[in-house]
Symmetry: C2
Subunit: 279 residues, 2 copies
């Protein structure tokens, strides 16, 4: 048995299982008190025999074991979380190795091993919801690099009203995330019908983000999920729009919806634990 | 001893050596007759004992050994080269294994092992010259993916006159390559002094390209070379401009000039051969 923790921007999921199966799961608000959250996680894992517990966390975080800030949440506007040694807090309470990555990279791993990416070693998982984030695998390995990808912050070709990202304005997240769509359309995406032309604009922006990812990483498949990203309205428009954007110069990756739904991250975290234990 | 072949857009270099050292090298125009070029390469390698010969070629090409078009040049406007089985032609004349990658990925490998990227396992090599191309390494491994990266074709945030790429207009290559700069400024970059504000514009575009690469791959270092990309005028402006663009949200990768100059590609090709032989 292996454990998995997915600390997301709003909710945290703890689960146990293995081989892509979740046997038991609990969920808490991530909240603004890391020690309290870690306490809830520790209670869930107490008295279980676990070979390892994988962690997939919101970022920015430091997943580099060779770095002095390994396991910490880095500077974030999220109240209570800036600089928190999340891995250290967990390790003090959980008597098992805790390999870690980002939440979206864990989701990429989960989908790659047990979901919409089975058999595909080079893929990207993108979530478009309250923010935009992406995780990547190259030859079946997680991509971290200097810190970790922040795919939501690629600058977009866009000449309309300025996007909502406080750092970059017109980046992928600043134009395509739920709040950006709501600001542009004057109502949230949940209130926008699949046939509304607002989805043509949204699809154009998402296609530009996927265009950048395709040029730089050449993934075979891109899994697009999240509250906005899972919408049928987007998925039925996206492949043709991405093909138009790439203009025949590059092979068009498959664009698919997640198969594991909201469990992708925690299944990925469990998989990380299982891979860690099994070398 | 190992061999290396770099087939670039205009010139082809063949060399022998090992451990990052070129012992002997020849150079030919790439030309429009693949069979004639392969003949020249084969003559250079004839009567040498080589454990392997690495190939780094211009693209688009297929470097996937499991693909039916492995080793071919794909559809290209380059006269004489569309669909040519370059690897097959070489293999018919050279009695050694011929591992292959793209020219810029070979350059990334060469610089990573023996040049400006020593000790850095996650890096990108970008060349800005007659075109813009990039090669990447993740955890010390070459990134190919579905085909290979085409980093020059990321769309740019840009509201000025349309760029020169026939496929995408305002992509990185369409705005930053030598012909794009010449079209924008009315004279080639070689005639533009380092203190000319034309370099501010050029740097802004290159920074946007590097911003996209940083978000998607999170490299620790980006090596920027090529006729335009090696200019001091660019390198002295680029780090600050990239930092501004990333706006404190992401760690800024090192931006450095190549250390191997125009030999990066062929040294990378030799290294590919050496790695192949030594497992």
């Amino acid at each position: 048995m292996f454990g998995g923790i997915e600390t997301g921007g709003t909710k945290t999921v703890c689960a146990v299982g293995g081989d892509g199966v979740v046997q038991e799961r609990v969920q808490f608000p991530t909240g603004t008190d890391p020690a309290a959250l870690v306490d809830l996680c520790a209670q869930f894992f107490a008295n279980r025999e676990l070979a390892a517990v994988g962690l997939g966390t919101f970022g920015p975080c430091d997943p580099d074991p060779d770095s002095p800030s390994y396991g910490r949440i880095l500077t974030t506007p999220k109240p209570g979380w800036s600089g928190v040694d999340l891995l250290g807090l967990l390790a003090a309470r959980i008597a098992a190795p805790i390999p870690m990555t980002t939440d979206v990279t864990a989701a990429a791993l989960g989908e790659q091993r047990y979901g919409a990416g089975v058999g595909v070693e080079d893929l990207v998982y993108i979530t478009i919801g309250t923010g935009v984030g992406g995780g990547a695998m190259v030859q079946g390995r997680l991509v971290h690099g200097a810190q970790h990808p922040e795919m939501g912050h690629v600058l977009m070709p866009w000449t309309g009203p300025r996007g909502v990202c406080p750092y970059h304005g017109n980046c992928f997240e600043g134009l395509a995330a739920g709040p950006a769509m709501a600001a542009r359309e004057g109502r949230p995406g949940t209130e926008i019908d699949d046939d509304d032309p607002a989805w043509d604009t949204e699809t154009m922006i998402v296609a530009a983000g996927l265009h950048a990812i395709t040029c730089i990483l050449s993934p075979r498949r891109i899994i697009v999920g999240g509250g906005v990203g899972s919408r049928e309205a987007l998925h039925r428009r996206l492949p043709a729009r991405l093909q138009d954007s790439l203009a025949g110069y590059l092979p068009v990756p498959d664009v698919v919806a997640p198969a594991l739904g909201s469990d992708a991250g925690v299944i990925g975290a469990i998989t990380l634990a299982q891979d860690h234990s099994q070398g």
